[in-house]
Amino acid sequence: MKKLINAPDQVVADALRGIQAAHGDRLRVSLDPYLLVRADAPVRGKVGLVSGGGSGHEPMHGGYVGRGMLDAACPGEVFTSPTPDQMLAATKAVDGGAGVVHIVKNYTGDVLNFEMAADLAGGEGIEVATVLTNDDVAVEDSLYTAGRRGVGVTVLVEKIAGAAAEAGRSLQEVAEIGRRVNAQGRSMGMALTPCVTPASGRPSFELAEDEVEIGIGIHGEPGRFREQAGPASQVAERLMTPILEDLPFRSGDRVLAFVNGMGGTPLLELYVVYAEVARIAAAHGLRIERNLIGNYITSLEMQGCSITLLKLDDELERYWDAPVDTPALRWGA
């Protein structure tokens, strides 16, 4: 394992030091507990948005803290969900009196820790609403399982709910909009290579030179099946078909198409994939009205991609277009 780090157990703290040095003018960074907060938080009267999760998915979530998106992010250790005390500290730091939304990806760890944090925040008189993301169609969904993982849609929830909060919407409204994004979005991912966490020093799974892993998550966990590596057109079909069937997306739907890199795949290739996504979407009669292409929710240095489709309506589209001013996503500002 070769990485640009000083020591496996310092990587998150060191990266936070880097973020502090780079963005200290717009973010408050705490190392104990790990925390990133908008410099101007709490914004009086505005619903606060807190997200969090394991590190190793950068720019998610720290890169999305700023005007028009998150008020705070709680980074955990690499691929390890953060702890309730971080989340509580974040919640208190961003509460401007209008309540706080927790954006939680559906992983047992994230869910349990955020539950505890919400309990604790409630105990301190802060109203918390939770938006759970679970958009990964690669995972079987049933009451008797942990359910689907939250993946690509999380970025879209953070942007769109963030804009709703910035627009002065109420706690319930912001949460409802976030949940709508989740309900109308579907994702699926694949990997060409595994990743290596600093702590383990070993590949998260083994893949032959001619194999790809389909239905991968964002934690280096193995996917649902592996198959012979094929052209980008086949990869795109493999991911788009279950996405399109699941919601389902129908001819005439307006969508946002998001092609996400897993961290180690060149942008050149993501555009190759996007060309295929656009082709398949057109064949289904979908109108891609907005798009996002790049490394936005990653799995360390994993090579691969995920595709997310979000069904748009006027409100979601307006909030997507609203100004955002964060280290990793910025427009209109």
Binding site: G54, V78, S81, T83, L112, A146, S200, F205, P222, R224
Partner: protein, 208 residues
Amino acid sequence: MSVAIDQAGVRRWMDLFAQAMSEHRQELVALDTAIGDGDHGTNMDRGMRKAIEKLHADAPPDPGALLKAVAMTLISTVGGAAGPLYGTLFLHLGAGLTDRDAIDLAAYSAAWRRAVDAVQARGSARAGDKTMVDALLPAVDALERSESLEAGLAAAAEAAREGMLATIPLVARRGRASYLGERSAGHQDPGATSTYYLFESAAEALAS
């Protein structure tokens, strides 16, 4: 003379458990890499290391308070699924034992049962879901069936070990391994494994 568990005994247990988490860190990481995200060993080791550090600085006077202190440290340093689940376990175990100088089998068994119930309430895992619950349940059953603390903890450790091994063929229905579906079968659950070490440490602490 009947044996009881006191503050020093719990303290010894926690030291041994911390030691086990450090020694088996790579093993737990490897198990979690196969069907999860590879952090279980690192998480537990980090948490227990911190817990022992805190106990060094300031050890609460009774067994229950000590376990609650460990719970709080785990909750705030482990993260992941294991943090809240082990935190919940220790919190409820401690709650049943607070303000006691010495714990007998009856009190101990009762506290464990409440602790396991709390873990199940928090995580919704049932027997056979391929989680730490699969080691916890048989261990607590064995404890309840025993005649003495010594015999009980030895039987619990053995039952936990069997429960841990029995997770191998299971298809996971909770936690991160459930995303693998059928592919999770054939692998031992990391959380059940750390739970086995917890009971092994408890038996050893009592014996020493």
